[in-house]
Amino acid sequence: MSFARRDLMAAAAAGTLASAMPMPAMANPRELRVGVQTHARTLDFQAETGNNAAQFLDCLCDTLVEIDTRSATPRYMPGLATAWHSISPTVTEFRLREGVRMHDGTLMDADDVVFSLQRVFTPTEARYRGNHGRYFSNFARVEKQDAMTVRIVTHRPDPLVEALLSCRNAGIASKEQADALGLDRAAQSPAGSGPYRVGSFRPNAELTVERFADYWGPAAPLDRVRFTRVSEMAPRVTALLNGDVDFIVSIPPDQQAPIRARRGLRLVETTWPMFFLYVLNMNRPEIADPRIRRAMNLAIDRNALASALWGGKAHAPRGHYFRGFADHDFLNDLNLLPYDPAEARRLMRAAGYNGEEIVLSFQSAYYTYGDLGAQAVLDMWKDVGFRARLQVIEGFGQNSSRFFTRDWSNPLYYPDMLGAFDTHWAQASWVTRDKWFAPEKFPAYQPLYDAVRFGTDPQARRDAYRRLVILTETEMVPWVLLYQPAEAYAMRANIAWEIPHNVRPYQLPFRAGLVNVS
C-alpha cells in the first residue's frame, strides 16, 4: 500500500501547523527509538545480505577486520583479530583477540570464526548461499591453527581480503549457540560480540537491542535501541514529529518540509554509493544487439529524472562510478551517459530496429520512486521510437530469462573501487548464472575484471577499471543506470549522528563515538 502525493501535502500542511510547537522530551535519553521503513526476517549475520538487515547488523556483530567509518578513505583496524600477516600469496593468518565475550556468555575463539566464515566461503546449505556468490567466491576456506589463530585461504592471491572481511556479512557468531539452539533459532537471536545484544525480535516488525555489558571494546553509548517498522511514510514522519520515535529513515525530498519546519529536529542527507538501475537481459533477442541497449541508455534524460523525482538531490550517473566516493574520483572526467536522443535514433536505425516490443518489467512499490521512474523511462523510450510497455511483476524468481529488464539496486558492498561492480556483476552473480549478463561474448572483459579484482598496483587497477567502465557502458551495455538515489535521515536535534563512511549503504552505526545524545 502506498499513499498519494496529496497525503503528503496534507502532512506538510499539518507539519507547518505544528512547527511552532516544541518537541516533546525524549522518553529516555539513553534509549533511541528508530522508525525504519523495512525490517528483517532474520538476523543471520552471514545470510542476510539485503538492505533491510543491513540497518541492524552493525549493532550486533564484529568482524575480524574493522574499518574506520569516519575516515574518507578506507582505513582498516584490528577487530576480532588483533594482527594478521601473509603466510603465502593465498594464505593470511589472523591472530584472534583474547577475552572477547559473545552474547551467549561464551568466549570467542577460532571455532566461532571457522564456523561463521566457513558458512560464507563454502555454504553447504541452500539458504546460506546469499553472499557467497557476490562477495567471497575467491575465498576457499578458513583453517583453525590453534584456539586463537586461524588461516584464511583464497583461490588466487587476493588484495581485497581486508575489505571483504570488514563487511558485516563476515560477522562472527557463536558456534556454541548455533550448536545448542540450531541455526534457525540462532538466526532469530544470534550471539555475536557487538556492543549491543538482541533484547527482543519480532521478525519484520520490531527489534530491540540492548547494551552488552561485557563488550570488549568501548561501551555502547545507549542503553537500548528499538527499531520499529513503520512502513508508511506519513505515520513515520508523524511519529517523529510528535515524539513517538527519535530517529527515522528514508524520507524522500518531497516529504521533508514538515521536518525542516519543526524546531528541535534535524535532517541528515546523503547520496549513498548505490545505483538504482535496470538490468538488461543481453540474451533477449529483441535487445540482443548492443546498439539497441545503448540506444535505450542514450534515450534517457537522467538529469531530468534526478531533478523531477528527487528534487535534484539524486546524482545522475555518467558511468559505473559513484560521485562522492573517493575511490572513484579519478573517473569524474568520464561522461558515458549523455542524453542524446538523436544518437539513440541513429543506433536504432543502424541496428535495424523494426518496432519490436520492449517490455520494462519492474516491481511496483519496491524502490522509492521506482514506479514513477519506470513511467518516465517508458515515455523517454517511446520518444525516440521504441515500442515499449510497462509490466509490473511481484518477483523475478524462476525462469527470469523471459524478462527484458529487472529493476535492481547496486550498493557498494565493500569499500573499494570494485565494491559495487564485483558484488553484482562477477561470474558468481545471478546475472551471469541466469545468462542475463554475457561477458563471454566480449573477450576484453575478463582480463580487465581480473586486473581490477586481483591487481595490486593502485595505478594499474585504476587504469583497468577506467577501461572496464568504458567497455561495459559503450560496448557491452548490460544495464541502464538511472540514478544514485538520495537518502535522508531525520532525528531529534540533540542526537549527534552522521552518515558513516566506508560501509555498505543503509548500515546504521550506533556504536561508541558514532552517536551521542545530549
Binding site: 522508525g35 508523524t238 510528535n242 513517538d244 545471478w430
Partner: protein
C-alpha cells in the same frame, strides 16, 4: 476450504522466488524444496498437510523457520486488543446513534447521526487513518500514532477500525427500527398508554435487533479484514502484518494457517450470531417453537 487454500497458495507462486531475490541454482532449489517437502507430488503434499493438521501440527514458516503457531500467538494479543476495543466502540456508539437516527428522523440530530454514518461508510480505512494521525497525532499531539506500547496507542487504530462498522450498524438499526415503528403492534402498544421509552426499547428495539445482530456478526468478520490495513498504517505488530508478510513471500504454512484460522473465526462468529438469535427472539428457541406448535 483446505483444498482451496492449499491449491490457491501454490498457484500463486513459489516462496523461493520471493525469498531469494537473486534466484537459486537448480541444486539449491531442489535442496530447499526437499527440506520443506515441496518436491513431492501435490496430492502427497496435501495428504501430509492434512495429516499434520490432524495432529495439531501447523508447520514451520518457510521464511522464518519458526513454528507457525508461535508467529500467530505472539501477534494475536495486539490484534485481539484492537478487535475487541473496536467492537466495543462499535456497539457503544453505533447502537445509540442508530436509535437516535430513527427516533429523530427528519430532525437535526437524526441528520447528524446519519451524516456520521455516511462519513464512516464512505471513507476508506487508510484515508481516515491518515487524517486521524495528522490531526490527533501531528497537529494536536494528543495521541501516539505508531506502535502498541500503551493503551493510548490503540485509540486511533480503534477509532479507525470502528468507524466503518459504526456506520453499518447505524444504517441498519435505523432502517429496521423505522420499519418496526410503523407496524401495528407498536401502534397498539402506544394506544395502551405505554410510555415512549418503553415502546422504544420493549417493542421496537427488541424486534429490530434480529437483523442488526446479523449485520454485527458480519462486521466482526470485517474487523479482521480492516485490521490488515490498519496494523500496517499504525505499525501495530498484529496478525494482519504476519498474514500480509506471508502472502508477500508465499510462505505456504503461514498463509494456509491464516486463511484456515480466519475461516474458523467466521464460522464461529456465525454460529454465535445464530445462538444469539434465540436470545433475541423467543420464537426461534426450540422450546418456544414447540409451545407455539402445541398452542
Amino acid at each position: 476450504m483446505l483444498v482451496v487454500t492449499f491449491a490457491g497458495a501454490r498457484i500463486s507462486g513459489n516462496p523461493f522466488d520471493y525469498l531469494y531475490d537473486d534466484g537459486l541454482t537448480a541444486e539449491q532449489r531442489a535442496e530447499l524444496s526437499a527440506e520443506f517437502g515441496l518436491d513431492r507430488p501435490l496430492p502427497a503434499q496435501f495428504a501430509a498437510y492434512v495429516g499434520a493438521l490432524a495432529t495439531g501440527n501447523f508447520g514451520v514458516s518457510i521464511a522464518q523457520r519458526r513454528p507457525v503457531l508461535d508467529l500467530y500467538a505472539e501477534a494475536l494479543p495486539s490484534t485481539l486488543v484492537l478487535a475487541v476495543s473496536a467492537f466495543a466502540l462499535t456497539l457503544a456508539v453505533g447502537l445509540p446513534l442508530g436509535v437516535l437516527a430513527a427516533v429523530r428522523r427528519g430532525r437535526f440530530w437524526g441528520g447528524v447521526a446519519m451524516g456520521v454514518a455516511f462519513l464512516g461508510y464512505a471513507m476508506p480505512h487508510f484515508v481516515l487513518a491518515i487524517i486521524l494521525v495528522l490531526v490527533f497525532g501531528l497537529a494536536l499531539s494528543w495521541l501516539p500514532s505508531v506502535g502498541g506500547d500503551t493503551p493510548w496507542h490503540y485509540v486511533l487504530p480503534t477509532v479507525t477500525l470502528a468507524a466503518g462498522l459504526v456506520a453499518s450498524v447505524v444504517r441498519f438499526l435505523r432502517g429496521e427500527m423505522l420499519e418496526v415503528m410503523g407496524q401495528d403492534h407498536v401502534r397498539t402498544a402506544r394506544a395502551t398508554g405505554l410510555s415512549g421509552p418503553r415502546v422504544l426499547w420493549g417493542h421496537v428495539a427488541r424486534n429490530a435487533a434480529l437483523p442488526v445482530l446479523t449485520i454485527v456478526g458480519l462486521q466482526l468478520n470485517g474487523l479482521i479484514n480492516g485490521s490488515l490495513i490498519i496494523e500496517t498504517v499504525f505499525a501495530l505488530p498484529g496478525i494482519g502484518q504476519t498474514f500480509v508478510g506471508a502472502v508477500q513471500v508465499r510462505d505456504y504454512p503461514v498463509l494456509q494457517f491464516g486463511v484456515m484460522a480466519y475461516a474458523l473465526v467466521v464460522v464461529v462468529i456465525n454460529l454465535g450470531v445464530d445462538a444469539l438469535y434465540a436470545v433475541a427472539d423467543p420464537r426461534i428457541r426450540r422450546g418456544g417453537a414447540t409451545r407455539m406448535a402445541e398452542a
